[in-house]
C-alpha cells in the first residue's frame, strides 16, 4: 500500500471538508476528516505518525478549534504536527491567541482551493 502524506481536516461543515479534499489531493496527499474535536482526537490516536498537517476550523459545536489546538500542543505525541487554522475568525486578538497557542499558519474563509493548496504546500514543505 502506497504511503502517502496524510493531512487531517477538522471542520463541522462537510462542504468545507470536500473543498479541502480537492485542494489536498491535487498534491497527491491523502485527507482524513473529522467533524468535531473529539473525532479529531480519535483519529490522532491512531494515525498521528502519518499526519503531517492539521487543518482546523475555529467555530464548531462542542470543543472549538482553539481548545483543540491547546490539547494537541500539550500532547507529546502530537505537538510537533503543524496546525493551520482554516476559519472565518479574523479578529486580530483571536489570531494572536491562536499564534500563542502554537498555530503555524492561518487561512481566512473565503478562500480559493489554490490558495489552500499553496499554504498546505508551504506548511508541509517546511515541516
Amino acid at each position: 500500500m502506497e504511503f502517502k502524506t496524510k493531512i487531517l481536516s477538522v471542520d463541522d461543515s462537510s462542504i468545507i471538508r470536500k473543498i479541502i479534499r480537492s485542494s489536498v489531493e491535487v498534491l497527491n496527499y491523502s485527507l482524513l476528516e473529522a467533524s468535531s474535536g473529539n473525532e479529531a482526537l480519535s483519529i490522532l490516536v491512531r494515525e498521528h505518525e502519518s499526519i503531517k498537517l492539521i487543518l482546523l476550523d475555529w467555530n464548531m459545536p462542542g470543543m472549538n478549534g482553539l481548545e483543540l489546538l491547546k490539547i494537541i500542543k500539550k500532547d507529546n505525541l502530537y505537538r510537533n504536527i503543524p496546525v493551520m487554522m482554516v476559519t472565518t475568525e479574523g479578529e486580530k486578538e483571536n489570531i494572536v491567541k491562536a499564534v500563542q497557542a502554537g498555530v503555524a499558519n492561518y487561512l481566512l474563509k473565503p478562500f480559493t482551493s489554490e490558495e489552500l493548496t499553496k499554504k498546505v504546500m508551504q506548511c508541509v514543505g517546511r515541516g
Binding site: S13, I15, K18, N59, T87
Partner: protein, 168 residues
C-alpha cells in the same frame, strides 16, 4: 391597492444607507466569487424584484455585540445546487439535500465572519453563533422589526441569492 403597495414598500426600506452600503459593500459578492467563481450582480431589492424569487433553502446566522444582527441567505434549491456544485467541483446532480443545506449555512457563516471582522476593525466586538438552515418551499423569514431590514439580491442569469440583514 395603492395603500397595500405602499405598505409593502416600507418593509423593504433601509433605515441607514451609509451603514447598509458599508455593511454590504462587496462582501457578499466577493464571498460568492471566491467560493464559487460566479460573478454576481448586486441589486437593491424592491417588491418587484423579489416577487418571483423562490425561497427553498436559507442559511441563517446571528451575531451578538453592541447590536444583535441576524443575517440570512435565501435561495431556490436550484440556485443552492449550482452554488454548492461550483464550491466543491462536484456534479450538481450528485449533491444531496444535506450537502445543499450545509453549503448554504456555510456561505452564511463566511458572510458573518467577514462582517464580524469589519465591525471589529471599527472597534466593535461581536460573537457569532453557529449557523443553521431553514428548508421548505416558499418559506419566508419575517422580522418583527421591519424597518431595520436590509436586503440585497445577488444574481446571475441562472441563480439568485437574497441576503437579508436584520437588527434584532
Amino acid at each position: 391597492m395603492n395603500n397595500t403597495n405602499q405598505g409593502k414598500q416600507q418593509h423593504i426600506e433601509e433605515s441607514d444607507e451609509a451603514f447598509s452600503n458599508w455593511f454590504f459593500s462587496n462582501s457578499i459578492k466577493e464571498i460568492i466569487f471566491t467560493m464559487t467563481g460566479m460573478e454576481v450582480l448586486e441589486e437593491k431589492v424592491s417588491v418587484e424584484t423579489i416577487k418571483d424569487l423562490k425561497q427553498e433553502i436559507s442559511g441563517v446566522i446571528v451575531l451578538i455585540g453592541n447590536k444583535r444582527i441576524m443575517l440570512s441567505l435565501s435561495m431556490s434549491t436550484y440556485s443552492a445546487r449550482s452554488l454548492v456544485a461550483s464550491m466543491t467541483g462536484l456534479k450538481p446532480e450528485s449533491l444531496t439535500q444535506e450537502d445543499l443545506v450545509d453549503g448554504v449555512a456555510e456561505l452564511a457563516n463566511i458572510a458573518a465572519g467577514k462582517v464580524k471582522a469589519k465591525l471589529s476593525s471599527n472597534g466593535e466586538h461581536y460573537d457569532i453563533l453557529l449557523p443553521y438552515s431553514i428548508t421548505g418551499d416558499n418559506h419566508s423569514i419575517i422580522h418583527k422589526n421591519k424597518i431595520a431590514v436590509l436586503i440585497r439580491l445577488y444574481h446571475t442569469e441562472n441563480i439568485a441569492v437574497m441576503a437579508k440583514v436584520c437588527l434584532l
